[in-house]
Subunit: 396 residues, 2 copies
């Protein structure tokens, strides 16, 4: 039998590392939490928990706060929470119609956010990267001013990524763009924007749950699939290309070269065209225009949103049949348009998903909306600290 | 931040359990292997490895064999291999046109296999279950005669499973069938047949790799998705329903109630109808008839296989766009028909997958063919022993 899964061995030396991460995740999962709660939840002894917590406090990962009020007599309990002054993540985004940067601290709070709206399609890639670098420098300066140490930086891009190369961004028309950015001595990690947005939603949207698809409608349509609390990146990191799943195999020609892709039915430009509205470029304005038309009862707008909802529903039904996620999160322009898209998405899922009688699917608007990817980029850095806190703890 | 992933704590008491499984997986992964190889691969000390191996030998999970010949002088090396006399798995399958049972030992070898071909659609579910029970009793008797202890049993079924209930088997017309079977004092685990087939392929097909979809063409079409060496079961275990993914949203009505499902284009009955051949019922005969027609140059048969390949290609391109698997394994009747299906599957994937320039997809016939599910069912039992060997080790 080949292909046996091997896991890392647990040696004495790594026991502390493993348990540090375990205790930190307990604090992150339900804060404030007491040392006694952590001991009970993990099965570790109270003495062990106390020693590990001392390390986490020394590393500025955890702080003591007032705990939950106790009933009855006794000392007031001391709670533990994530340290807002601990290591922070820098998030960057390069999108078709905006560039952005943010700083997220250990607690998940967004401490800085800057968005520049402008159509990037008419520009040279290197100039766009230089603008991203300037946004990153500003954000790093803000972080320093707030007394935050940056643990790293990640850049969200609208396309296929291999290592630090943007292989293809169909809606920007770029190919094989190497991103050599560095921020505060860290090489910038590059990742697909919809994948990062899914991560952002997972950590900030209480309705996202543990198995969902984040669908982001912009000029392109991106998807990020989370199953069992883990981002599904696939064999080569190219997962989630829901915009190029087929609605009608002989439908209109897509920018990617195939026929009948979802983008040709439910992309921002396709909806505006069907609605008879001019294209304002920026997604936020497009969503506002479409929502205004729908609220005013404009029939062409309502029909365009119905058609987009049906196309999304067909592809999302395929998605649920294939990977059995229980929640759909609508991001990008879809967040604002969710009231008009929901009905047809639900109808197609109800009609086409074999298990729909036993496996209901929730449809929810994104909490982070257009900032999901840039926040998710910063969250990916914070999460790497959670996964490996030992690096931040001073040697004794 | 909610939804932080918590992992199990590692305490001293579970260290041995973890490391027993780790050493056993080393033996399973590349046998024969020496104690020194294991120490090197895991980072455990040679003394620790030797003590763990002693336990695994006492539990009849591992045996000593002649090792790989050494160059130069010195003692001949002693290798370790999985023990063929160790705990074994019993696999059962209930399909539309056959019932089967098998016994797989610790090494993955099939020690017993019995298949009864007959159309089950005209029968009462309880009578079918009684026949499965009889096959199981025979298999358990054979295992006992071979001196094998059964570690458990699993049943592969063609439909949606919740716990031990077959919620829906569209092609058998059954709903909500509770399976209370017990074999040799073990309750029989029930699982979707395509999921188990994917597991069977993963452990026996050297070409399957770590991220693939197993597609099983029979009267229904099932799918099992493996990503990163793990079966993707989804939020509620209903993943892999590729037969009900959409080819044309307004296509022919499917047995499931939706329109244009893959089964209506590439299911065994649809191919036979398009080919103008009578339906022999059993998949093996259908595949042989179709292959004979194709070899003879029968134009209707060739056109039917081309159409089925194109429909499969559309849905598999959607699959690759969504989850980025790198291999497609063709099972059921598709195994025999792979030479004629391959071209159109490859064409659609090449045209429709956004990342196809950087992420080639291999198309391979199944190694286990119609026995993939029943062998996978037995393998699932053996794998549970690999995951938790401590139960089999006598207390000292």
């Amino acid at each position: 039998m080949a292909h046996a899964r091997t896991t890392a061995p647990v040696r004495q030396s790594s026991l502390r590392e493993h348990n540090l991460a375990l205790v930190l995740k307990q604090v992150a999962g339900r804060h404030p939490v007491s040392r006694a709660d952590i001991a009970q939840a993990t099965g570790l002894t109270r003495a062990t928990v106390s020693a590990l917590v001392e390390d986490l406090i020394a590393g500025q990962l955890v702080i003591e706060v007032a705990g939950a009020p106790k009933s009855g007599a006794g000392r007031p309990s001391i709670g533990l929470d994530l340290d807002p002054d601990g290591p922070a993540g820098l998030g960057l985004q390069m999108n078709v119609d905006y560039l952005s940067a943010c700083v997220v601290d250990m607690t998940g709070a967004v401490r800085h956010l800057e968005v520049h709206h402008a159509d990037q399609r008419k520009r040279i890639a290197e100039e766009v990267l230089a603008d991203v670098e300037a946004l990153a420098a500003t954000a790093a300066g803000v972080a320093e001013g707030l007394g935050l140490r940056l643990a790293g930086a990640a850049l969200a891009v609208p396309g296929l990524v291999q290592d630090r190369t943007l292989r293809l961004a169909p809606n920007l028309g770029w190919r094989d763009l190497h991103v050599g950015l560095r921020v505060a001595d860290h090489p910038v990690h590059v990742e697909n924007d919809a994948n990062l947005a899914a991560l952002g939603e997972m950590f900030t949207n209480p309705n996202a749950g543990r198995s969902f698809i984040y669908v982001c409608g912009e000029i392109g349509i991106g998807g990020g699939v989370v199953v069992g609390g883990e981002l599904l990146r696939g064999s080569r990191g190219f997962s989630g290309e829901i915009g190029h799943m087929s609605v009608h195999p002989s439908g209109p020609l897509c920018r990617c070269g195939a026929h009948g892709c979802l983008e040709q039915y439910a992309g921002q430009e396709a909806i505006l065209r069907a609605a008879g509205l001019p294209d304002p470029g920026a997604g936020t304005i497009a969503a506002t225009d479409l929502a205004a038309g729908a609220i005013a009862g404009n029939r062409k707008v309502l029909a365009a949103l119905d058609a987009a909802g049906a196309a999304l529903g067909i592809v999302l039904a395929d998605t649920v049949n294939l990977v059995d996620i229980d929640t759909v999160i609508l991001g990008g322009v879809y967040t604002r348009l969710e009231p008009w898209l929901r009905r047809n998405i639900a109808r197609e899922i109800g009609a086409r998903v074999l298990a729909s009688d036993w496996a209901p699917v929730q449809i929810r608007p994104s909490v982070l909306a257009e900032n999901a990817s840039v926040v998710g980029a910063a969250v990916s850095v914070v999460r790497s600290v959670w996964d490996n806190p030992v690096e931040w703890i001073p040697t004794r």
